[in-house]
């Protein structure tokens, strides 16, 4: 039977939702599921992790030098735990993509990135070429499976469990070659782009940072998070962490509304799992309409003004 270790993603205060999605993936693999919370003073995180359905045990590795998710430090701890497990998995967020390959290399195995479906305990489906092909991959028999889980493909596991929480001493000391300086975040009051059920996005068609104000207003009216295309980010209309797509965030909201976005494959790959895609573009030939569930050919500013009025 599989023994699965999930490396929790958190900010010291709360558990990132991608961890609950990893639990769903682990349930599909089948077996015993433990979660490792590596950090410093992350008791609240451990409690959240312990509440996730079908988790047997939460292992807390607590040390001052583990506070920031420096891959060199976290990987050393994860590898020390890994010997007891057949699978070590983490989310394919920037944190997981930074950390998991370091774990895999230390464990001497290749890594499977972005599990979207489980075929069997060692066999999975994953996207390649920006999601333009889906490939079956299998880990070699008898070796530890180290993998990242494509969060957008999985629903978050429920929180009615009650796993045991076990403290474990850190097995390594701080890597002196890496110094964490800090994190500068957009600090938005809006819903988080990666977990929001509704997302309103703007592209180059929005035209300016000022123009983006109407995107924010519509989002606030709908209780939605705000996303953007790379072109909008590169043009400085909005912050980097709002980028959706192959090299931004891969999201799966119930509703995605794209305004002034043409629909390049690199953007579309980030929204393929959305429930309903709405596209508003003044060019009726724009490729975004090929994947939109509801399309409206027209000027985004007048459409948003009308929506604003009709929604009251």
């Amino acid at each position: 039977m599989s023994r699965i270790l999930i490396i929790a993603e958190h900010d010291g205060q709360s558990l990132n939702i991608s961890t609950a999605k990893c639990v769903s993936c682990a349930q599909a693999i089948g077996g015993d599921i433990d979660i490792a919370v590596i950090g410093s003073g992350a008791d609240a995180v451990a409690a959240e992790a312990a509440a996730l359905d079908s988790v047997t045990k939460v292992i807390v590795v607590d040390a001052e030098h583990l506070e920031a998710p420096v891959a060199a430090n976290w990987a050393a701890e994860a590898v020390a735990l890994a010997a007891d497990y057949s699978h070590v998995i983490g989310p394919s967020t920037t944190m997981g993509r930074d950390l998991m390959p370091r774990i895999a290399a230390l464990a001497g195995v290749n890594q499977i990135s972005d599990i979207m479906e489980v075929n069997g305990p060692d066999s999975f489906k994953r996207p390649i070429y920006a999601g333009n092909a889906i490939v079956d991959v299998s880990a070699p028999a008898g070796s530890t499976v180290v993998a990242t889980v494509r969060a957008a493909s999985w629903k978050a596991a429920g929180s009615s469990g009650g796993a045991a929480v076990e403290q474990r001493a850190a097995s390594s000391s701080a890597a002196t070659h890496t110094r964490y300086i800090g994190l500068e975040s957009g600090g938005s009051e809006r819903p988080d782009l990666q977990s929001a059920s509704k997302v309103v996005s703007g592209g180059r068609g929005v035209g300016s940072e000022d123009g983006f104000q109407v995107i924010y207003q519509l989002a606030d009216k709908l209780g939605a998070a705000v996303g953007a295309s790379r072109a909008a980010v590169d043009a400085g209309y909005c912050a980097n962490d709002m980028q959706v797509g192959q090299t931004g965030k891969i999201i799966s909201p119930d509703l995605y509304m794209a305004f002034g976005i043409s629909g390049a494959i690199q953007h579309v790959t980030g929204i393929k799992d959305a429930g309903t895609i709405v596209a508003v573009n003044k060019d009726s030939e724009a490729p975004i309409f090929e994947i939109a569930d509801i399309g409206l050919a027209g000027d985004l500013f007048s459409v948003i003004a009308d929506l604003d009025e009709l929604l009251g």
Partner: protein
Amino acid sequence: MKILVGIKRVVDYNVRIRVLSDGSGVDTDGVKMSVNPFDEIALEEALRIKEAGNADEVIVVSAGGDECQQQLRTGLAMGADRAIQIQSSEALQPLSVARAFLKIIEREDPGLVIFGKQAIDDDNSQTGQMLAALWDRPQATFASKMVVNGSSATVTREVDAGLETVEVDLPAVVTVDLRLNEPRFVKLPDIMKAKRKPLDVVALDELGVTVEGNIEVGNHAPPPQREKGVMVEDAAQLITELKNRGLL
């Protein structure tokens, strides 16, 4: 200081990928091949570091069959000083590539190794991190800004929550994101000059690397298609459609 830059030959990002009907792979016949766009950014950054007087030599390295010499030549034309091909007839997975790079590092002793944050074919995003682990050196992934200051580098990383800054001692591995820089265009005279720059070929087994523990890659399938949508005329109809779907 020497800088090594990893370069991968991939299907050009403008090509529409077609999965072969027998599921054995994607169609690469007669398809335009290019340097992975992230690797171009990695090389551009290395060249800028050298131009600012913080490095003496930029070496582009690619693992693959002889066809990847074309991409190495592009790297030389952009301004790299020399190139190394790690020759392998089979497609290598990230762990093998990292192991081979480690051997090149032992020979070249670079202060920095820069990779793209992912290759746009396999979308793995692993090689740089794996190399850093095997080399027991720091990694700074997804860089959108980097400043080399003597024996260390300050790197701004594009992470989900915003912009994270780390300082790493050199030697280090950096993987780069799109917003780090805009790669220069190659000019014709540079292409001519590149032909005379050294390109060394070293076989994977000469480096003492054996390929093992590969992930087995099986059937390829096209992604599921979304159902055809509807077009609406105005905001009022849009609201009706959204209400019908329980989204408003």
